[in-house]
Protein backbone atom coordinates (compact mmCIF):
# COMPACT_ATOMS: atom_id res chain seq x y z
CA UNK A 1 0.00 0.00 0.00
CA UNK A 2 2.75 2.38 1.03
CA UNK A 3 4.83 1.48 -2.01
CA UNK A 4 1.80 2.07 -4.19
CA UNK A 5 1.30 5.50 -2.66
CA UNK A 6 4.97 6.30 -3.15
CA UNK A 7 4.81 5.22 -6.80
CA UNK A 8 1.76 7.35 -7.39
CA UNK A 9 3.35 10.35 -5.72
CA UNK A 10 6.51 9.97 -7.81
CA UNK A 11 4.44 9.61 -10.98
CA UNK A 12 2.59 12.75 -10.03
CA UNK A 13 5.65 14.80 -9.14
CA UNK A 14 7.41 13.67 -12.31
CA UNK A 15 4.45 14.83 -14.29
CA UNK A 16 4.41 18.12 -12.37
CA UNK A 17 8.13 18.75 -12.86
CA UNK A 18 7.80 18.03 -16.57
CA UNK A 19 4.95 20.54 -16.73
CA UNK A 20 6.86 23.12 -14.69
CA UNK A 21 9.90 22.90 -16.96
CA UNK A 22 7.76 23.68 -20.01
CA UNK A 23 6.20 26.70 -18.33
CA UNK A 24 9.60 28.09 -17.37
CA UNK A 25 11.02 28.01 -20.90
CA UNK A 26 8.01 29.59 -22.63
CA UNK A 27 7.81 32.31 -20.00
CA UNK A 28 11.30 33.46 -20.69
CA UNK A 29 11.15 33.30 -24.47
CA UNK A 30 7.67 34.29 -25.66
CA UNK A 31 4.90 36.63 -24.56
CA UNK A 32 2.17 35.18 -26.71
CA UNK A 33 -0.87 34.17 -24.69
CA UNK A 34 -1.69 31.13 -26.78
CA UNK A 35 1.82 29.72 -26.51
CA UNK A 36 1.78 30.09 -22.73
CA UNK A 37 -1.66 28.49 -22.48
CA UNK A 38 -0.64 25.50 -24.61
CA UNK A 39 2.32 24.64 -22.48
CA UNK A 40 0.72 25.37 -19.09
CA UNK A 41 -2.10 22.86 -19.69
CA UNK A 42 -1.27 19.18 -20.07
CA UNK A 43 -2.65 17.92 -23.36
CA UNK A 44 -5.55 15.50 -23.17
CA UNK A 45 -5.54 12.37 -25.20
CA UNK A 46 -8.01 9.67 -26.12
CA UNK A 47 -10.91 12.03 -25.60
CA UNK A 48 -13.09 9.54 -27.41
CA UNK A 49 -12.87 7.27 -24.38
CA UNK A 50 -14.38 9.89 -22.07
CA UNK A 51 -17.81 9.14 -20.78
CA UNK A 52 -19.87 7.00 -18.48
CA UNK A 53 -19.47 3.25 -18.41
CA UNK A 54 -22.20 1.51 -16.50
CA UNK A 55 -23.04 -2.07 -15.72
CA UNK A 56 -22.69 -4.98 -13.38
CA UNK A 57 -20.44 -5.06 -10.35
CA UNK A 58 -20.46 -8.56 -8.89
CA UNK A 59 -18.52 -10.22 -6.12
CA UNK A 60 -18.59 -13.22 -3.87
CA UNK A 61 -18.94 -12.57 -0.25
CA UNK A 62 -21.26 -12.58 2.73
CA UNK A 63 -24.77 -11.46 1.98
CA UNK A 64 -27.40 -10.57 4.57
CA UNK A 65 -30.81 -12.17 4.18
CA UNK A 66 -33.62 -9.94 5.52
CA UNK A 67 -36.04 -12.77 6.00
CA UNK A 68 -33.91 -15.20 7.98
CA UNK A 69 -31.75 -12.52 9.63
CA UNK A 70 -28.66 -14.47 8.72
CA UNK A 71 -25.56 -14.08 6.62
CA UNK A 72 -24.83 -16.55 3.86
CA UNK A 73 -22.11 -16.87 1.23
CA UNK A 74 -23.21 -15.88 -2.21
CA UNK A 75 -22.71 -13.52 -5.12
CA UNK A 76 -23.63 -9.91 -4.60
CA UNK A 77 -24.70 -7.92 -7.67
CA UNK A 78 -24.62 -4.14 -7.84
CA UNK A 79 -24.83 -1.53 -10.55
CA UNK A 80 -21.76 0.66 -10.92
CA UNK A 81 -20.86 3.61 -13.12
CA UNK A 82 -17.31 4.64 -13.94
CA UNK A 83 -17.03 8.17 -15.21
CA UNK A 84 -13.83 8.82 -17.13
CA UNK A 85 -13.47 12.57 -17.31
CA UNK A 86 -9.88 13.21 -18.29
CA UNK A 87 -7.02 11.26 -19.84
CA UNK A 88 -3.56 12.77 -20.19
CA UNK A 89 -0.29 11.18 -21.28
CA UNK A 90 0.39 10.04 -17.73
CA UNK A 91 -2.87 9.95 -15.87
CA UNK A 92 -6.52 9.17 -15.97
CA UNK A 93 -9.05 11.01 -13.82
CA UNK A 94 -12.63 10.20 -13.03
CA UNK A 95 -15.17 8.95 -10.52
CA UNK A 96 -16.81 5.71 -9.52
CA UNK A 97 -20.39 5.64 -8.33
CA UNK A 98 -21.98 2.67 -6.64
CA UNK A 99 -24.71 2.45 -3.97
CA UNK A 100 -24.83 6.23 -3.74
CA UNK A 101 -21.16 6.32 -2.87
CA UNK A 102 -19.19 8.56 -5.21
CA UNK A 103 -15.41 8.20 -5.11
CA UNK A 104 -12.83 9.91 -7.30
CA UNK A 105 -10.09 7.81 -8.88
CA UNK A 106 -6.78 8.46 -10.54
CA UNK A 107 -4.76 6.04 -12.54
CA UNK A 108 -3.01 5.20 -15.77
CA UNK A 109 -3.94 4.00 -19.22
CA UNK A 110 -1.83 1.46 -21.02
CA UNK A 111 -2.12 2.17 -24.76
CA UNK A 112 -0.81 -1.20 -25.87
CA UNK A 113 -3.06 -3.44 -23.81
CA UNK A 114 -5.81 -0.80 -23.69
CA UNK A 115 -6.21 -1.29 -19.96
CA UNK A 116 -6.92 1.18 -17.23
CA UNK A 117 -5.54 0.82 -13.73
CA UNK A 118 -7.54 3.16 -11.56
CA UNK A 119 -7.11 3.78 -7.85
CA UNK A 120 -9.56 5.28 -5.44
CA UNK A 121 -7.98 7.59 -2.82
CA UNK A 122 -7.70 5.00 -0.05
CA UNK A 123 -9.00 7.06 2.83
CA UNK A 124 -12.40 5.35 2.74
CA UNK A 125 -12.69 1.74 3.84
CA UNK A 126 -14.49 0.79 0.62
CA UNK A 127 -11.74 2.14 -1.68
CA UNK A 128 -9.88 -0.12 -4.00
CA UNK A 129 -8.26 -0.54 -7.39
CA UNK A 130 -9.98 -1.07 -10.72
CA UNK A 131 -8.17 -2.97 -13.47
CA UNK A 132 -10.29 -2.88 -16.59
CA UNK A 133 -9.75 -3.51 -20.28
CA UNK A 134 -11.33 -1.42 -22.96
CA UNK A 135 -12.82 -3.33 -25.86
CA UNK A 136 -14.62 -1.01 -28.26
CA UNK A 137 -17.37 0.39 -26.02
CA UNK A 138 -17.08 -1.90 -23.07
CA UNK A 139 -14.92 -2.06 -19.99
CA UNK A 140 -14.38 -5.43 -18.36
CA UNK A 141 -12.16 -6.41 -15.52
CA UNK A 142 -12.02 -6.51 -11.78
CA UNK A 143 -11.78 -4.51 -8.63
CA UNK A 144 -9.97 -5.30 -5.42
CA UNK A 145 -10.41 -3.56 -2.10
CA UNK A 146 -7.33 -2.03 -0.50
CA UNK A 147 -8.55 -3.22 2.86
CA UNK A 148 -9.85 -6.73 2.32
CA UNK A 149 -11.30 -7.18 5.78
CA UNK A 150 -13.49 -4.09 5.77
CA UNK A 151 -15.75 -5.01 2.85
CA UNK A 152 -18.07 -7.99 2.50
CA UNK A 153 -16.92 -8.80 -1.05
CA UNK A 154 -13.30 -7.66 -1.42
CA UNK A 155 -12.92 -8.93 -4.97
CA UNK A 156 -15.42 -7.99 -7.64
CA UNK A 157 -15.76 -8.29 -11.39
CA UNK A 158 -16.97 -5.55 -13.72
CA UNK A 159 -18.83 -5.70 -17.02
CA UNK A 160 -19.58 -2.18 -18.16
CA UNK A 161 -20.85 -0.60 -21.34
CA UNK A 162 -20.43 3.00 -22.39
CA UNK A 163 -23.75 4.79 -22.08
CA UNK A 164 -24.78 8.32 -22.74
CA UNK A 165 -26.68 9.79 -19.86
CA UNK A 166 -29.61 11.78 -21.11
CA UNK A 167 -32.33 13.28 -18.95
CA UNK A 168 -35.72 12.22 -20.23
CA UNK A 169 -38.80 13.15 -18.23
CA UNK A 170 -40.77 10.35 -19.87
CA UNK A 171 -38.82 7.51 -18.31
CA UNK A 172 -40.97 5.36 -16.05
CA UNK A 173 -40.66 2.00 -14.36
CA UNK A 174 -41.27 -0.81 -16.80
CA UNK A 175 -44.75 -2.33 -16.44
CA UNK A 176 -43.29 -5.81 -16.05
CA UNK A 177 -41.21 -4.78 -13.05
CA UNK A 178 -41.25 -6.65 -9.80
CA UNK A 179 -43.05 -4.22 -7.50
CA UNK A 180 -42.26 -5.93 -4.22
CA UNK A 181 -39.98 -4.20 -1.74
CA UNK A 182 -37.87 -7.07 -0.47
CA UNK A 183 -35.71 -4.86 1.69
CA UNK A 184 -38.16 -3.93 4.43
CA UNK A 185 -40.04 -7.02 5.49
CA UNK A 186 -42.41 -6.87 8.43
CA UNK A 187 -42.08 -9.83 10.70
CA UNK A 188 -45.13 -11.50 12.16
CA UNK A 189 -44.90 -14.17 14.77
CA UNK A 190 -47.61 -16.72 14.12
CA UNK A 191 -48.61 -19.67 16.21
CA UNK A 192 -49.56 -23.11 15.02
CA UNK A 193 -50.02 -26.54 16.56
CA UNK A 194 -47.33 -29.00 15.57
CA UNK A 195 -49.12 -32.06 14.21
CA UNK A 196 -46.64 -34.54 15.58
CA UNK A 197 -45.95 -33.29 19.06
CA UNK A 198 -49.31 -31.55 19.61
CA UNK A 199 -47.47 -28.54 21.07
CA UNK A 200 -47.99 -24.90 20.20
CA UNK A 201 -45.06 -23.61 18.15
CA UNK A 202 -44.08 -20.18 16.83
CA UNK A 203 -42.83 -19.30 13.43
CA UNK A 204 -41.90 -15.95 12.01
CA UNK A 205 -43.55 -14.94 8.77
CA UNK A 206 -42.29 -12.07 6.66
CA UNK A 207 -44.60 -9.73 4.85
CA UNK A 208 -43.30 -7.36 2.21
CA UNK A 209 -44.77 -4.15 0.88
CA UNK A 210 -45.89 -4.07 -2.72
CA UNK A 211 -46.47 -1.03 -4.93
CA UNK A 212 -49.59 -0.57 -7.02
CA UNK A 213 -49.89 0.33 -10.67
CA UNK A 214 -50.20 3.98 -9.69
CA UNK A 215 -46.43 4.12 -10.17
CA UNK A 216 -46.97 3.61 -13.90
CA UNK A 217 -49.59 6.34 -14.11
CA UNK A 218 -48.18 9.32 -12.25
CA UNK A 219 -45.06 11.07 -13.54
CA UNK A 220 -43.74 13.74 -11.20
CA UNK A 221 -41.45 15.09 -13.91
CA UNK A 222 -44.18 15.77 -16.44
CA UNK A 223 -47.34 16.76 -14.56
CA UNK A 224 -48.03 19.03 -11.62
CA UNK A 225 -49.31 16.73 -8.90
CA UNK A 226 -52.24 17.70 -6.70
CA UNK A 227 -53.24 16.47 -3.24
CA UNK A 228 -56.17 14.68 -4.87
CA UNK A 229 -53.78 12.57 -6.99
CA UNK A 230 -51.90 11.38 -3.92
CA UNK A 231 -54.48 11.03 -1.17
CA UNK A 232 -55.34 7.40 -1.80
CA UNK A 233 -51.81 6.20 -2.55
CA UNK A 234 -49.83 3.90 -0.36
CA UNK A 235 -46.56 5.13 1.07
CA UNK A 236 -44.47 2.87 -1.17
CA UNK A 237 -46.22 4.18 -4.30
CA UNK A 238 -45.44 7.75 -3.33
CA UNK A 239 -41.83 6.89 -2.48
CA UNK A 240 -41.37 5.38 -5.94
CA UNK A 241 -43.03 8.28 -7.76
CA UNK A 242 -40.85 10.71 -5.84
CA UNK A 243 -37.63 8.78 -6.38
CA UNK A 244 -38.38 8.35 -10.09
CA UNK A 245 -37.61 12.07 -10.38
CA UNK A 246 -34.20 11.52 -8.88
CA UNK A 247 -33.62 8.39 -10.93
CA UNK A 248 -34.28 10.30 -14.14
CA UNK A 249 -31.56 12.76 -13.16
CA UNK A 250 -29.11 9.95 -12.54
CA UNK A 251 -29.10 9.88 -8.75
CA UNK A 252 -27.30 6.90 -7.28
CA UNK A 253 -29.54 5.59 -4.51
CA UNK A 254 -28.11 4.80 -1.12
CA UNK A 255 -31.11 2.67 -0.20
CA UNK A 256 -31.29 -0.78 -1.70
CA UNK A 257 -35.09 -0.53 -1.92
CA UNK A 258 -34.89 2.06 -4.65
CA UNK A 259 -31.86 0.56 -6.36
CA UNK A 260 -33.83 -2.64 -6.73
CA UNK A 261 -36.72 -0.87 -8.41
CA UNK A 262 -34.80 1.35 -10.80
CA UNK A 263 -32.08 -1.09 -11.77
CA UNK A 264 -34.83 -3.18 -13.36
CA UNK A 265 -35.12 -0.52 -16.07
CA UNK A 266 -32.77 -0.13 -18.99
CA UNK A 267 -32.64 3.66 -18.77
CA UNK A 268 -31.44 4.19 -15.19
CA UNK A 269 -27.77 5.23 -15.09
CA UNK A 270 -26.44 6.30 -11.71
CA UNK A 271 -24.09 9.20 -12.35
CA UNK A 272 -24.21 11.37 -9.25
CA UNK A 273 -24.75 11.24 -5.54
CA UNK A 274 -26.52 14.60 -5.43
CA UNK A 275 -28.85 15.86 -8.12
CA UNK A 276 -30.87 18.35 -6.04
CA UNK A 277 -29.78 21.29 -8.20
CA UNK A 278 -30.84 19.59 -11.41
CA UNK A 279 -34.53 19.37 -10.59
CA UNK A 280 -36.93 21.60 -12.48
CA UNK A 281 -39.16 23.94 -10.42
CA UNK A 282 -42.16 21.70 -11.07
CA UNK A 283 -40.22 18.62 -9.97
CA UNK A 284 -39.14 20.41 -6.78
CA UNK A 285 -42.74 21.31 -5.95
CA UNK A 286 -43.92 17.77 -6.64
CA UNK A 287 -41.18 16.33 -4.47
CA UNK A 288 -42.13 18.68 -1.61
CA UNK A 289 -45.78 17.64 -1.92
CA UNK A 290 -44.88 13.98 -2.05
CA UNK A 291 -42.66 14.35 1.01
CA UNK A 292 -45.50 15.90 2.95
CA UNK A 293 -47.82 13.02 2.10
CA UNK A 294 -45.15 10.41 2.72
CA UNK A 295 -44.49 11.87 6.19
CA UNK A 296 -48.20 11.84 6.91
CA UNK A 297 -48.49 8.22 5.82
CA UNK A 298 -45.49 7.33 7.96
CA UNK A 299 -46.94 8.94 11.08
CA UNK A 300 -50.64 8.39 10.70
CA UNK A 301 -51.55 5.47 8.44
CA UNK A 302 -51.87 2.80 11.11
CA UNK A 303 -52.19 4.88 14.26
CA UNK A 304 -55.23 5.90 16.32
CA UNK A 305 -56.42 9.07 14.62
CA UNK A 306 -57.94 10.11 11.35
Amino acid sequence: MKILKLLLISFFTMGLIACKKDVKTTDSSKDSLTARKDSAVVPEVYKEYYGIYTGEFAGEGRIYDNETDEYYNGTEYKKISLKISKITKDSVYGQSIVDGNQRPFRGIFNENTKTFVLDEPGNDKTDGRFEVKLTRDSLTGNWNAFNKSSVKAPSKSLKLIKKTFVYNPNFMLDENSDLIDWENPKKFVEKYIDEETGKAENYTASKNRIASDAVFKLNASKQKLTEKDLKNLRKLDMEIIKNSVFARHGYSFKKATYRNFFEQTDWYIPVSNNVDNDLSPMEKENVALLNRFINYAEDKYDSFGR
Binding site: N232, R292, Y296
Partner: protein, 212 residues
Protein backbone atom coordinates in the same frame (compact mmCIF):
# COMPACT_ATOMS: atom_id res chain seq x y z
CA UNK B 1 -79.28 -13.51 41.65
CA UNK B 2 -80.09 -9.83 42.04
CA UNK B 3 -76.75 -9.30 43.78
CA UNK B 4 -74.92 -11.02 40.94
CA UNK B 5 -76.81 -8.95 38.38
CA UNK B 6 -76.01 -5.72 40.21
CA UNK B 7 -72.36 -6.68 40.44
CA UNK B 8 -72.07 -7.41 36.71
CA UNK B 9 -73.83 -4.16 35.94
CA UNK B 10 -71.39 -2.31 38.21
CA UNK B 11 -68.51 -4.21 36.62
CA UNK B 12 -69.50 -3.12 33.11
CA UNK B 13 -70.00 0.45 34.30
CA UNK B 14 -66.48 0.54 35.71
CA UNK B 15 -65.14 -1.06 32.54
CA UNK B 16 -66.83 1.57 30.40
CA UNK B 17 -65.51 4.36 32.59
CA UNK B 18 -61.97 3.06 32.39
CA UNK B 19 -62.34 2.48 28.65
CA UNK B 20 -63.63 5.97 28.10
CA UNK B 21 -60.81 7.36 30.26
CA UNK B 22 -58.21 5.61 28.08
CA UNK B 23 -59.67 6.80 24.79
CA UNK B 24 -60.25 10.29 26.16
CA UNK B 25 -56.54 10.37 26.95
CA UNK B 26 -55.73 9.36 23.35
CA UNK B 27 -58.00 12.10 21.99
CA UNK B 28 -56.27 14.57 24.31
CA UNK B 29 -52.85 13.68 22.88
CA UNK B 30 -54.25 14.24 19.39
CA UNK B 31 -55.64 17.64 20.41
CA UNK B 32 -52.26 18.60 21.88
CA UNK B 33 -50.66 18.21 18.42
CA UNK B 34 -52.62 21.27 17.38
CA UNK B 35 -51.18 23.44 20.12
CA UNK B 36 -49.71 25.88 19.17
CA UNK B 37 -51.69 27.01 16.16
CA UNK B 38 -50.05 25.73 12.98
CA UNK B 39 -51.39 25.77 9.43
CA UNK B 40 -49.64 22.58 8.38
CA UNK B 41 -49.58 20.27 11.35
CA UNK B 42 -50.93 16.72 11.60
CA UNK B 43 -54.22 16.26 9.70
CA UNK B 44 -53.74 19.60 7.96
CA UNK B 45 -50.73 18.12 6.15
CA UNK B 46 -53.17 16.56 3.70
CA UNK B 47 -55.68 19.42 3.66
CA UNK B 48 -53.48 22.14 2.22
CA UNK B 49 -55.71 22.44 -0.86
CA UNK B 50 -58.60 23.50 1.41
CA UNK B 51 -56.39 25.60 3.68
CA UNK B 52 -55.02 27.58 0.75
CA UNK B 53 -58.20 27.93 -1.29
CA UNK B 54 -60.60 28.72 1.57
CA UNK B 55 -59.55 31.48 3.99
CA UNK B 56 -62.21 30.43 6.52
CA UNK B 57 -61.26 26.72 6.56
CA UNK B 58 -58.63 27.03 9.29
CA UNK B 59 -61.03 28.91 11.60
CA UNK B 60 -63.70 26.24 11.33
CA UNK B 61 -61.07 23.54 11.72
CA UNK B 62 -59.50 24.95 14.86
CA UNK B 63 -62.88 25.80 16.45
CA UNK B 64 -63.80 22.15 16.03
CA UNK B 65 -60.46 20.80 17.30
CA UNK B 66 -60.27 23.08 20.34
CA UNK B 67 -63.91 22.62 21.47
CA UNK B 68 -64.46 18.92 20.79
CA UNK B 69 -62.18 17.71 23.57
CA UNK B 70 -64.32 19.65 26.08
CA UNK B 71 -67.49 18.31 24.47
CA UNK B 72 -66.20 14.78 25.13
CA UNK B 73 -65.23 15.60 28.69
CA UNK B 74 -68.38 17.41 29.78
CA UNK B 75 -70.65 15.01 27.93
CA UNK B 76 -69.07 12.13 29.79
CA UNK B 77 -69.30 13.85 33.19
CA UNK B 78 -72.90 14.87 32.58
CA UNK B 79 -74.03 11.44 31.42
CA UNK B 80 -72.63 9.85 34.58
CA UNK B 81 -75.52 11.67 36.18
CA UNK B 82 -73.62 12.37 39.40
CA UNK B 83 -73.18 15.76 41.02
CA UNK B 84 -69.84 14.83 42.64
CA UNK B 85 -70.80 16.86 45.72
CA UNK B 86 -71.14 20.06 43.69
CA UNK B 87 -74.47 21.85 43.42
CA UNK B 88 -76.18 21.39 40.05
CA UNK B 89 -73.05 19.84 38.54
CA UNK B 90 -75.02 17.67 36.08
CA UNK B 91 -77.03 20.66 34.91
CA UNK B 92 -74.00 22.91 34.48
CA UNK B 93 -71.89 20.28 32.75
CA UNK B 94 -74.88 19.63 30.50
CA UNK B 95 -75.19 23.32 29.67
CA UNK B 96 -71.54 23.51 28.64
CA UNK B 97 -71.94 20.35 26.53
CA UNK B 98 -75.03 21.71 24.79
CA UNK B 99 -73.61 25.20 24.24
CA UNK B 100 -70.33 23.92 22.76
CA UNK B 101 -72.08 21.53 20.37
CA UNK B 102 -74.94 23.71 19.17
CA UNK B 103 -72.89 26.86 18.65
CA UNK B 104 -69.39 25.62 17.85
CA UNK B 105 -68.57 21.93 17.43
CA UNK B 106 -71.51 20.81 15.27
CA UNK B 107 -71.61 23.74 12.80
CA UNK B 108 -67.85 23.55 12.31
CA UNK B 109 -68.13 19.77 11.92
CA UNK B 110 -70.78 20.13 9.22
CA UNK B 111 -68.64 22.69 7.38
CA UNK B 112 -65.63 20.38 7.42
CA UNK B 113 -67.82 17.46 6.35
CA UNK B 114 -68.51 19.28 3.10
CA UNK B 115 -64.78 19.12 2.33
CA UNK B 116 -64.12 15.71 3.83
CA UNK B 117 -61.53 13.34 2.42
CA UNK B 118 -62.66 10.16 0.73
CA UNK B 119 -64.99 11.48 -1.94
CA UNK B 120 -68.73 12.09 -2.05
CA UNK B 121 -69.78 9.17 0.18
CA UNK B 122 -67.63 10.38 3.06
CA UNK B 123 -68.90 13.93 2.67
CA UNK B 124 -72.51 12.75 2.80
CA UNK B 125 -71.82 10.66 5.90
CA UNK B 126 -70.14 13.43 7.85
CA UNK B 127 -72.76 16.04 6.95
CA UNK B 128 -75.57 13.69 8.01
CA UNK B 129 -73.67 12.90 11.21
CA UNK B 130 -73.18 16.60 11.95
CA UNK B 131 -76.86 17.37 11.40
CA UNK B 132 -78.09 14.43 13.52
CA UNK B 133 -75.64 15.46 16.23
CA UNK B 134 -76.95 19.04 16.27
CA UNK B 135 -80.61 17.98 16.15
CA UNK B 136 -80.39 15.31 18.88
CA UNK B 137 -78.51 17.68 21.18
CA UNK B 138 -81.00 20.45 20.55
CA UNK B 139 -83.98 18.14 21.15
CA UNK B 140 -82.42 16.90 24.40
CA UNK B 141 -81.86 20.49 25.54
CA UNK B 142 -85.41 21.46 24.69
CA UNK B 143 -86.85 18.48 26.57
CA UNK B 144 -84.81 19.39 29.66
CA UNK B 145 -86.18 22.91 29.55
CA UNK B 146 -89.67 21.38 29.45
CA UNK B 147 -88.68 19.16 32.38
CA UNK B 148 -89.51 16.02 30.38
CA UNK B 149 -86.56 14.22 31.87
CA UNK B 150 -87.22 10.69 30.69
CA UNK B 151 -87.32 11.81 27.06
CA UNK B 152 -84.41 14.17 27.74
CA UNK B 153 -82.35 11.22 28.90
CA UNK B 154 -83.11 9.21 25.74
CA UNK B 155 -82.24 12.04 23.39
CA UNK B 156 -79.07 12.86 25.30
CA UNK B 157 -77.94 9.24 24.92
CA UNK B 158 -78.49 9.61 21.18
CA UNK B 159 -76.44 12.81 21.21
CA UNK B 160 -73.64 11.26 23.27
CA UNK B 161 -73.53 8.15 21.08
CA UNK B 162 -72.82 10.46 18.16
CA UNK B 163 -70.26 12.40 20.21
CA UNK B 164 -68.45 9.14 20.94
CA UNK B 165 -68.30 8.43 17.18
CA UNK B 166 -65.10 10.51 17.27
CA UNK B 167 -63.57 7.68 19.25
CA UNK B 168 -65.23 4.74 17.51
CA UNK B 169 -64.24 6.03 14.05
CA UNK B 170 -60.60 6.04 15.07
CA UNK B 171 -60.88 2.63 16.72
CA UNK B 172 -62.28 1.10 13.53
CA UNK B 173 -59.47 2.68 11.54
CA UNK B 174 -56.80 0.94 13.61
CA UNK B 175 -58.62 -2.39 13.36
CA UNK B 176 -59.28 -2.23 9.60
CA UNK B 177 -55.75 -1.08 8.73
CA UNK B 178 -54.26 -3.82 10.91
CA UNK B 179 -56.38 -6.55 9.32
CA UNK B 180 -56.58 -5.50 5.68
CA UNK B 181 -54.02 -2.70 4.96
CA UNK B 182 -56.26 -0.97 2.40
CA UNK B 183 -55.38 2.29 0.67
CA UNK B 184 -55.85 5.26 3.00
CA UNK B 185 -58.94 6.79 1.41
CA UNK B 186 -60.60 3.41 1.01
CA UNK B 187 -60.27 3.01 4.78
CA UNK B 188 -61.59 6.51 5.31
CA UNK B 189 -64.72 5.92 3.24
CA UNK B 190 -65.54 2.86 5.31
CA UNK B 191 -64.93 4.42 8.72
CA UNK B 192 -66.84 7.58 7.87
CA UNK B 193 -70.00 5.43 8.04
CA UNK B 194 -68.82 2.69 10.40
CA UNK B 195 -67.80 5.33 12.94
CA UNK B 196 -71.34 6.36 13.85
CA UNK B 197 -73.96 4.00 12.40
CA UNK B 198 -73.37 1.12 14.86
CA UNK B 199 -73.41 3.63 17.76
CA UNK B 200 -76.74 4.98 16.53
CA UNK B 201 -78.21 1.51 16.09
CA UNK B 202 -77.03 0.40 19.54
CA UNK B 203 -78.68 3.34 21.29
CA UNK B 204 -81.94 2.91 19.37
CA UNK B 205 -81.92 -0.75 20.37
CA UNK B 206 -81.36 0.07 24.05
CA UNK B 207 -84.10 2.70 23.97
CA UNK B 208 -86.52 0.29 22.31
CA UNK B 209 -85.74 -2.35 24.92
CA UNK B 210 -86.44 0.29 27.58
CA UNK B 211 -82.94 -0.06 28.98
CA UNK B 212 -82.36 3.70 28.63
Amino acid sequence: MYFAKKNTSLFFKILLIIGFGYFFWLMLTITMEYIPFNTEVSFLMIKQTEVRQRPEYLSFFYVHVYTSIFVLLFGFLAILRKDFGLKNFHRNAGKIYIFLILLLAAPSGIYMGIFANGGLYSKISFVILGCLWWLSTFKAYHLARQKKFKAHKQWMWRSFALTVSAITLRMWKVIIVYLFHPNPMDVYQIISWLGWIPNFILIEYLITKKLI
